[in-house]
Symmetry: C2
Subunit: 351 residues, 2 copies
C-alpha cells in the first residue's frame, strides 16, 4: 500500500481538549459545489443610525437610551437567555428527565461607537480597550458566577443580527458543557503529565511549525491539529495564564496587535469581512475561584464558517450532526499557498 499522506488519505484525529474525534478527508475539496451560496456580505453599513439599538444615543427595546459613548459600551442584553433570579425546577422524578436551575446574566459589549468598523479596522489602542473590558467583566461577573462566557458572533452567517461591532458576555450559575469537557481533559492531563495540556501543546506547535499562523512575543495563533472548521484557529498566551484578568499590560497590548493581524488575514483570505464565532475560555470563577486551577490555560477559539469563498460555507450537517465532525482539508493545508493564497501562507516563527 501507498505510504500515508495526510493531505491524500482520510484519517481521524483526536481533540484532547474537548475529547472528540474529527474525520479529516482532504480530497473532498475536489468535489464541485452546486449548493447554497450565502448572500454577499458587502453591504454598506451607515456609521451612525439612530434606530440601531447598539448605537450611541439610540433608544433600546426596553425604552432605555444609550449614552453618547465614545469608546466601548457594556449593557444588559434586553432579551437575555439567562436571568439572575429564575426559580429551580426542583428535584427530578426520573433519571431520564433531569432538569436543573440555571441562573445568570447576559451582557452586550459594543466595541466602538461606529457601526461601520470591525475589530481588524480598529486601532490598537481601541482593541486594547476592548481587551481591558473583557478582563474587567470577567472579574466582575466572575465574582458571583462560576463561568463567564465571552463570545463574538460576527457576520449574518453566524446569526449576528446587528452589524454594529459587538460581543456578548453570558455568565452562568453552572459550568456549561464544553467548559466541563475542557475542565476534565485539562485536569486529567495535568495529573498524568504534571503540566498544563495547552502549555505543552503550544510548545509542541512551536517546535513542529506545521500549523502556526502567527507568533508574537506573548502569543501564538495556530490551526489546531484537531481543527473542525476549515480555518479554525486557537489563540494562546505563551506564558501560563489562567484567566483574562491576569494578563499584564504588555500582554494586552501584544494581544491587540496579534488579534488585528489575525483578523486582517481572515478578511484578506476571501476578500470579505470574514464571519466567525469566537470566544474565550479560562479557568472557572465564582466561589471556587480560589481552588487550584493550574491545569487551565487561557485561550480563545475562532470558528469561521467559510470553506471555499466569501459565499460558500462548510455545512456541518447530516454526518457531522449524527456521527462525527468532518473536514475537507487538513489543518496543515490551511498554511499552504495552493489553498489559501499568499495572505494565509507560511510564516516564520519568531523562535
Amino acid at each position: 500500500t501507498a505510504p500515508f499522506l495526510a493531505s491524500e488519505h482520510q484519517h481521524i484525529r483526536y481533540n484532547p481538549l474537548q475529547d472528540e474525534w474529527v474525520l479529516v478527508s482532504a480530497h473532498r475539496m475536489k468535489r464541485p459545489w452546486q449548493g447554497q451560496v450565502e448572500p454577499s456580505l458587502l453591504e454598506t453599513v451607515p456609521r451612525h443610525d439612530p434606530r440601531n439599538p447598539l448605537c450611541p444615543g439610540a433608544t433600546r427595546a426596553n425604552g432605555e437610551v444609550n449614552p453618547h459613548y465614545d469608546g466601548t459600551f457594556l449593557f444588559d442584553n434586553d432579551f437575555p437567555a439567562l436571568q439572575p433570579d429564575a426559580p429551580s425546577p426542583g428535584p427530578s422524578d426520573h433519571p431520564l428527565f433531569q432538569a436543573k436551575a440555571a441562573r445568570g446574566v447576559c451582557k452586550v459589549l459594543c466595541f466602538h461607537p461606529w457601526s461601520d468598523v470591525t475589530l481588524p479596522l480598529m486601532s490598537i489602542p481601541e482593541i486594547r480597550t476592548v481587551i481591558d473590558v473583557w478582563a474587567s467583566v470577567t472579574e466582575d461577573l466572575g465574582a458571583q458566577y462560576p463561568w463567564v462566557q465571552i463570545f463574538e458572533n460576527k457576520g449574518a452567517m453566524m446569526g449576528c443580527s446587528n452589524p454594529h461591532p459587538h460581543c456578548q458576555v453570558w455568565a452562568s450559575s453552572f459550568l456549561p458543557d464544553i467548559a466541563q469537557r475542557e475542565e476534565r481533559s485539562q485536569q486529567a492531563y495535568q495529573s498524568q503529565h504534571g503540566e498544563p495540556l495547552l502549555m505543552e501543546y503550544g510548545r509542541q506547535e512551536l517546535l513542529r511549525k506545521e500549523r502556526l499562523v502567527l507568533t508574537s512575543e506573548h502569543w501564538l495563533v495556530l490551526v489546531p491539529f484537531w481543527a473542525v472548521w476549515p480555518f479554525q484557529t486557537l489563540l494562546l498566551p505563551r506564558r501560563h495564564v489562567r484567566r483574562l484578568p491576569e494578563l499584564t499590560p504588555a500582554e494586552r497590548d501584544d494581544l491587540a496587535l496579534i488579534m488585528k493581524k489575525l483578523l486582517t488575514k481572515y478578511d484578506n483570505l476571501f476578500e470579505t469581512s470574514f464571519p466567525y464565532s469566537m470566544g474565550w475560555h479560562g479557568a472557572p470563577t465564582g466561589s471556587e475561584a480560589g481552588a487550584n486551577w493550574d491545569h487551565w490555560q487561557l485561550h480563545a477559539h475562532y470558528y469561521p464558517p467559510l470553506l471555499r469563498s466569501a459565499t460558500v460555507r462548510k455545512f456541518m450537517v447530516g454526518y457531522e450532526m449524527l456521527a462525527q465532525a468532518q473536514r475537507d482539508l487538513t489543518p496543515e493545508q490551511v498554511k499552504t499557498r495552493s489553498i489559501l493564497g499568499p495572505l494565509f501562507s507560511p510564516i516564520s516563527s519568531k523562535d
Copy 2:
C-alpha cells in the same frame, strides 16, 4: 420566589443518550429578529434534468451513466469522505497528536426517479422501498464495517447540493464520536437499570403525553425532553429492535406511514419543503455484530434548522459552539397551538 414554569423560567436539561446539557430559555422567542433570512425555498425543480447526476440516465462526475431506474438507486459517492483502502497514519508520537486510520465506503441512495418529489410526497409503497434499501444496505455494509451511518440532508439550508430526493450512507471502520457516546450511555443505563434506556424513555413519554407528536401501532415520534433544535424529533419503534434489518414487514409499512405523516406535518408547519438533517442509529455492526447489544434501541433523529418561519433559522453559534447548546422554546411548547398552529398541535395518543 415565583413557582417554576418551564415555559417562563430558563433551566438546563440533560440528554442521557448523548451525555450533554442544553440551556432552555423559552422567553427568548420574544426577541425581534433583524438577522439573516434564508433564500426562499420554493424554486421549481424540473422532474427530469439530464445534467443532474442523480437523475436516471444521467452521466456522473466519474463518467459513469446511471441506469434508467424507476424505483430507488444506490451507488458509490463520486467524492467520498471515506475510501476502503486508505493507509494508516501509524503510531502517534505524542498524546496531543493522535491520529488513526479511517476506512470506509460512502454511498448515495436516490429515493425516486423524479427530482421534484420529496419523501412526504411519495406514496407509502415508494417510501417502504426506501426503508427496505436502508435495511439491506445496513446489512451489506454492516457485514464489514462496525458503523453504517444513514443520513439525509434535506434542503439547501442543510448543505444539500442537489434537490433530487436522496440520502447518503457512510460506513466506517471506526465507531464515530456520537455513536460512541450513545453506546456508553445505553450500556451504562442497561447495567444500572436492567433495561434499554430508550425502551424506558419511550414508555415514559407515552405515559406523560407532553411531548408526543405522533403515535402508531409500531412507532412513536416525540420531541425529546432534551431537544436542542426547535423542532427536533425522535422516531422510535415500540418494540425492542436493535437494527433496521430486524424490522418486520408490518413495522416497515407502518414506518412508511408515520414518516409520511411526520414529514407532512413538518412541511405544513411553515408551509415550505421543510429542511432537516436526519439519520438512523442502531447497534454497531461489523465483526462484533454478534456481541450482546441488547442495550441498544434503534431510533432516528430529525434535526430541522428552522425556528420562526420558512426563512428564519436557529443559529447554533457563539454560545452554543463555545459553551452549551441553547434553545428558545421548550420542547413542550412545540406541541402548543400558540407557537405551532393546528398542524403540529397536541395529538391523542393511541394508548
